[in-house]
Structure formats: structure tokens, C-alpha cells
Subunit: 167 residues, 2 copies
């Protein structure tokens, strides 16, 4: 694994967190990193919702998919997109999501990505808790905190998925 | 912009390249970085096709969307996904795409992302040139090379897209 790309290999899914809150400085860095993502025709269709309010986090954590992670995380970021701004909003908001996850690794934090796209049981409760308008899409829900578990850097490179000059 | 996250802010869309090829070492690092991405339930539905053959690159560059970029790039990577492995393949393969773009910045290379999802005029010519099976999805086409233009690091942070504890 290339040392210059260490931040990418250190990004792992971290599902348990200490009680320590994420600082406002780090949160700002995460949002700046997210909004450094590319977007089709540079339309930037994203909206990020950072949730630090414990009552709101606990409300979201009532949904089984989120109970273990957001139930113990001091921060959640919901990555939303406006389909009226760009028909590419899902891919653009996924690039934002991945940027935030990599930034999390770069700051020594831990996070896990919950997909929620077209999954009403994962989307509805978050939408209602945060008042996200019906016309706004939801790409991802991220639980973020200081890691209470350690994982090694890794690639999952598989030569069978590495095709050269044709399928 | 947080110094620790510099690699993310240095990722910019680079559309012109020198004649210098991308080394096999760097190409391997890009593929390892791509396959370090997260995926839903860790299903890893991706397939990466690296194209360095000039005749194939030129064939792809006959399509107007790719002519300026892949016409001058020494490398293209096509990020494909297998919907039979995961229904989340678009988001998973977009995370792979963003990982590769960030790795490109980390290696001092330059790249631009062409979206092709559900755009037959962008997907068909690449599919035919590379023999990509009909049942395999195509998420992105990346043109990659040594940059012949310079762009400054940046975020596109916008306080109007930064929502706290609710929409």
C-alpha cells in the first residue's frame, strides 16, 4: 500500500465511539472536506445536516438500523441532495460522503456509512426527526465519533477485479 | 482548510495531460486505493478496467464527451459494478471513483470524472470498445495523466448548505 495514500487505506468502518464529542474545529473540517467533492457540471447539489443534539440522535437511534451506531455517536451527518439542482445528485452526494469518511480517518475519528437511498424504513425516521423536505433526496447517514475500536489500514485489492484494456 | 486533509482539497478536475505515461506502480496504487472503498455489507461489487492501449483510448475518444480528455490522456479507468452482487452498486462504485480521484491527487497526477450512468451516448461506446457485458453496470469513466494544468487547492464550503440539528 502506497504511503502517500495512507489516509485512504486507514478509512475503515468504525461502529463504536467514546463519549468524547467531536470538536467544532473538526466538524468544520469534515464539512469543508465534504464540500470539496466534485459534482457534475459543478452544480453542487448537496446539503449537509450535522446532528449533535443528543435528543435528536437518540430519536434517530430508535430505528434499528441506527441504534448501535448513532445511539452511541456524538455526531451524525446526513448527506442530502436536491434533485432540482442536478439529476446526478446521488453520485455527487456519494462523493461528498466518501470525502467525509476519508476526512474522518485523516482527523483520527471513526465513522460508519449507513446507506438509506430508497429505503423508506431508514429514510423516513431521519427525514421526520430533522424536518427534511419531501423534495430533497437523502443519500447517506453517517455516524461519527472518536473511535472505541481499532482497525488496521487495508486495501481490498483483488486481481480478479483488475481488468486491463478490456473486460 | 485543514492541513491534515490537504489531499482532499488538492483533488481538482484536470482535463489536460502531458505525454508522460502513468507508471505501473502508480496505476497499481490507484487500483488499490479504489478497492479500499467501503461497500454496503462489504459486498465489493466493483470491477475496474484500466485502459492504456492508445488505439482503445482513441476509439473511446471518438465520442464527443471524451474527445478532449481521453483523447490526450495516457490512462482511463472505467469503474463498473455488478448489480447481481449488490443493489447498492452505484453508490459503492461512486465511492471507488472518489477514492481513485483522491489517490490521483495524492500521486501528483490529474484526472477528470465523466459520469455515464444511464447515459447511453456515453455508456454505449465505452461498453462496445471494452466488451463490457450487458449485465454489468457502468458508474464512471475517468481520464488520468500527468497534469498539464495547475489548479489551486480549495473547498467549496457554503454556509447555506451547512445545516445544524435539522433542515
Amino acid at each position: 500500500m502506497d504511503k502517500r495514500l495512507e489516509i485512504l487505506f486507514r478509512r475503515r468502518s468504525i461502529r463504536t465511539y467514546t463519549d468524547q464529542p467531536v470538536s467544532e474545529v473538526d466538524l468544520t473540517s469534515l464539512l469543508e472536506a465534504g464540500m470539496a467533492a466534485p459534482s457534475a457540471a459543478n452544480r453542487k447539489p448537496w446539503h449537509l445536516i450535522a446532528v449533535t443534539d443528543r435528543a435528536l440522535l437518540d430519536q434517530i437511534a430508535e430505528t434499528p438500523a441506527y441504534s448501535r451506531t448513532i445511539g452511541s455517536a456524538p455526531l451524525a451527518i446526513v448527506v442530502c441532495g436536491d434533485p432540482a439542482i442536478s439529476s446526478w445528485w446521488v453520485q455527487d452526494c456519494t462523493a461528498v460522503t466518501e470525502n467525509i469518511l476519508i476526512a474522518v480517518a485523516g482527523l483520527g475519528l471513526g465513522a460508519v456509512w449507513h446507506g438509506c437511498l430508497n429505503r423508506e424504513e431508514r429514510e423516513g425516521p431521519v427525514r421526520r426527526a430533522l424536518g427534511i423536505p419531501d423534495e430533497i433526496g437523502m443519500a447517506s447517514v453517517l455516524a461519527i465519533g472518536h473511535p472505541a475500536e481499532e482497525k488496521e489500514a487495508r486495501t481490498q485489492y483483488d486481481p480478479e477485479r483488475d481488468h486491463r484494456n478490456g473486460w
